[in-house]
Symmetry: C2
Subunit: 554 residues, 2 copies
């Protein structure tokens, strides 16, 4: 009998926040853990989503025995609909909530026929052929989150998913540290893959329930209407807001497509409990006194078309804000969104609305564990090897540093990159290969946007565009029309007519007599015209717009 072969193939989620996706290969068979999207960074202009590179999966689809989901956040499930284009069919395992969150997007893409959704229970073990996957409850900012104990012939690979250790979770469902300890002390944790998001921060994360008092104070003490915005998937936060509302005699109305959808799913599954008679349509709030109303809304990230942004702009068709309203942002700005969130707050306050957010009151806690949570997990799991996952490079570094400070030898702690293939043996762990793991951009429906398109957009965004138009007689090389100049995003044409005139003259001068120089070649026209215009623009304006020469021949 040959030694078992166990590999971990990272397709995303290392050194960035989102696009979480990895494969575990055991004796030639594969399972995938999570399949998320990355929300585009600020300089990925016009990009809606960033996916993992699925070329490895495409080539190995015949070896794939299923996808297991740690929890229902977009950065862990948002790319499933795109993955399904690369396979004939796929078993997808996850908590009931994660499955229902994932199903919606897959149905929208018309790919439901390819997905076999399988809801699993807390602590259930599923046989996926080459491995058994055990779904161990952990606490996070979405209900029903799991760590995965992946039982392999070499021992257990424990993938924490996203987690913190919340000893007083809103739904009472605690991280099952006892089971993790049992695994550690019986089969042993061969490898820990651990959430790094908050690994820079010392101390412990606060319990979700620790903000109940603050939320209650803000909502109960306000004599008028309250509009509370949070993450649409944060069902426990919505539960706490609803509980406060019910306790203080308010009715709850919901605004925003994703918020409505998620609340509906969570209530059907019993993950969210709001008494039927307290949940009303937004139209019904008209008949109530302001102090009887709590509106739960999307838009906590300042997204331009969200319910809250539209309210701030006075353009929400369902609700008009008044001076005695209070807006509660029970959230924090995801990195990159700080400016957008600040603008929405300012707009709301300019309307005279009172705004409470996490800089002013304790109305938000993170769902990710800090160093205390992370070391507790490591102490209980006692892994032989450790690889930090989820987070920017600096977060992974601090998570690795923590593992080493807790006693793991340097050789047993790996910081990996997307595309790394890690091989586990009985005594070693090492990167042995690379697979493609670049960005796949989604913009509209056209397949893939490539790097070059984004670089063009960056130049256009910074400097604008100058189109140089020239029509030439194909036989004689005589200029029949132009040079004409069309600009966009460079300088304002009506006010810069003089400059454009000079530019035309500079190009014309550079082309003068060119047709007498010999055989006509449109490429020479194009090159010479571009160079003359580039020189003029740089000297006169110190800018570097994109210059697009269009030479047509007739």
């Amino acid at each position: 009998m040959t030694d078992p072969s166990v590999k971990i193939i990272f397709l995303g989620g290392l050194g960035e926040v989102g696009r979480n996706c990895a494969c575990i290969e055991v004796n030639g068979r594969l399972i995938m853990v999570d399949c998320g999207v990355l929300f585009p960074e600020l300089d990925m202009l016009g990009i809606d989503l960033v996916l993992p590179d699925f070329s490895f999966v495409r080539e190995n689809a015949h070896r794939l025995d299923g996808l297991v989901l740690t929890h229902g956040h977009e950065d862990h499930i948002g790319a499933i609909a795109y993955l399904l284009r690369n396979v004939d069919s796929l078993d997808i395992y996850g908590s009931p909530l994660a499955i229902e969150f994932a199903r919606g997007r897959v149905v929208e893409h018309g790919l439901a026929g390819k997905a076999n959704f399988i809801a699993v229970s807390d602590n259930e073990i599923r046989d996926l052929g080459s491995v058994q996957v055990e779904f161990i409850p952990v606490t996070h900012s979405v209900p029903e989150a799991f760590a995965l104990a992946i039982h392999t012939p070499l021992g257990v690979i424990l993938h924490t998913g996203d987690f913190k250790i919340d000893h007083t979770p809103v739904d009472g469902r605690k991280t099952n540290l006892a089971r993790i300890g049992e695994i550690a002390n019986t089969v042993g944790v061969k490898l820990l893959l651990s959430d790094s998001t908050k690994a820079e921060e010392p101390g412990f994360s606060d319990s979700e329930s620790s903000i109940k008092q603050s939320l209650g104070d803000v909502i109960t003490q306000h004599p008028g209407r309250v509009i509370a915005a949070s993450f649409a998937s944060h069902i426990h936060r919505i539960q706490q807001l609803a509980d406060v509302a019910v306790d203080s005699g308010r009715y709850i109305a919901v605004l925003g497509r994703s918020m409505k959808r998620n609340i509906s799913i969570a209530r059907q599954l019993g993950a969210l409990k709001i008494p039927e008679d307290r949940l009303i349509d937004i139209e019904q709030t008209e008949g109530l006194r302001p102090r009887e109303v709590l509106v739960v809304s999307t838009g906590s990230q300042g997204e331009p078309m969200s319910a809250l942004s539209l309210m701030a702009a006075g353009e929400n068709r369902w609700i008009t804000l008044y001076e005695d309203d209070l807006v509660l942002l029970s959230s924090h700005a995801v990195p990159g969104n700080e400016t957008a969130v600040g603008r929405v707050i300012d707009k709301l306050m300019r309307k005279g609305v009172r705004v409470v957010h996490s800089a002013i009151a304790k109305v938000h806690v993170s769902g990710h564990g800090r160093q205390g949570d992370l070391s507790t997990m490591m102490s209980v799991a006692r892994p032989q090897n450790m690889i930090p996952v989820h987070g920017e490079y600096r977060h992974m570094w601090h998570n690795a540093d923590l593992a080493m400070r807790m006693g793991l030898p340097k050789s047993n702690v790996l910081i990996c990159q997307d595309g790394d293939v890690v091989e586990l043996t009985d005594s070693t762990i090492a990167v042995v290969d690379k697979v493609p793991a670049g960005y796949t951009y989604v913009d509209g429906t056209v397949g893939d946007v490539v790097e070059e398109v984004i670089r063009d957009r960056q130049v256009l965004a910074e400097e604008g565009l100058v189109v140089l138009v020239l029509t030439v007689d194909a036989k004689s090389g005589k200029i029949l029309y132009g040079p004409e100049i069309v600009t966009k995003g460079w300088i304002h044409a009506p006010e810069a007519e003089e400059l454009l005139d000079e530019a035309r003259q500079a190009v014309a001068a550079a082309l003068e007599g060119i047709e007498t120089e010999g055989v006509y070649d449109p490429e020479i026209f194009r090159r010479r015209a571009r160079r003359a215009l580039g020189k003029f623009v740089a000297e006169r304006t110190r800018r570097r717009p994109m210059i697009v020469p269009v030479v047509t021949e007739v």
Copy 2:
């Protein structure tokens, strides 16, 4: 004798961070307080700087008796060179350091002949004709900051500038609360204009000297080279870094143009004290042991071309980073820069460099006062009226709220907007007029970039561009060339040839037979071609690139 007329005209700095600029008008004469730039927000694509609108100043230049500077930060002095284009000559008053910081930029623009720079001492009173301006020391994150007591016939207008109340400042120069109290109790503070930047935050700001211990621990305990990045104008921070370096036997080398310039100015003025023999050129660090070196560098905001970013990219010609180096970011990310700073940290750590920043250790404090500082100032100044300045709207709101909670009647607290003209009388304060106060954009050397250009850039950035080229016989209307399609930032042409072919066919089909329909009109060609292409693009790609039809006639 008629009643004195006192007005405050806000040209910038209300509801945003930067571009601070206001005029005080007394009996028809004007002085200006500060003249700063705004660093462009993320969606002001390609813009280098945003200036105040100087059209009011241009029209009233003959009434302007001088510019007074509260302190030497760019958001208070950075627009002086642009202001000078609108006046024949100007007296500019400020601390020696603020004056020297301002002078550099003015000289670069070749406008030194228009500026009469006048350095003032702490607590000095200067007569500017219609008003006397008293320069009262306050503590801030640049040395020699002033509050201005502007003595008018109606009493004192007290402008705090940017400040916190630091009882143990690095240079021992404290906020002169006693003098402010004396003014309050003698002539009286008619109006307080007060810094709002940190008005959302309860408590008191920490003293600059409170981080000395932490800075010392980080630098002294590191066995190798230390590279410390901070704001180039933060002379007190540089002083503390230098003190620690000297105490622990390190030599100090400086990197980055603005850092070198400011350190040189500050040392000449005696505002920064580094022993001559401890300050070395970067080349000299080669001959030293790593533990004898502290490099002070620019780049704490992740600016792409700064010394630190170049180090992180391995492209700094003066310094190559090694695994046993430590980079200390003694700073915080200015809102909007979080992502850029995070990326630089990640790049540094990928090189194996140890990075310490303010999320990990106490190596930065703000120079702006929190609610405790702000209410201390109000308690001492006892103003009759108050207008919050400097900060986003939410910060100004909280500052106003604080004033009212401290007892000022609502009618005596105004939240203003840029362009507001506020009139003070013996018993009232009110907005009585508006002047132009929009954004003036600077991009390269071409005068003004207008809103429309930025909107074009936003479309180009999000969606890219499709140029449609068509050459038509001017007489017959027959198409001689095209339709040809050139794209930038839309889809990647080589991979999308098929789609472009279809697009060409769609446009050709729409134009078929058009020349037989009657009189030739290029506008009809243009409109019909654009509509056909727009429809095709929207239906096939769900994107909305900018479509530029170029119809040439020969």
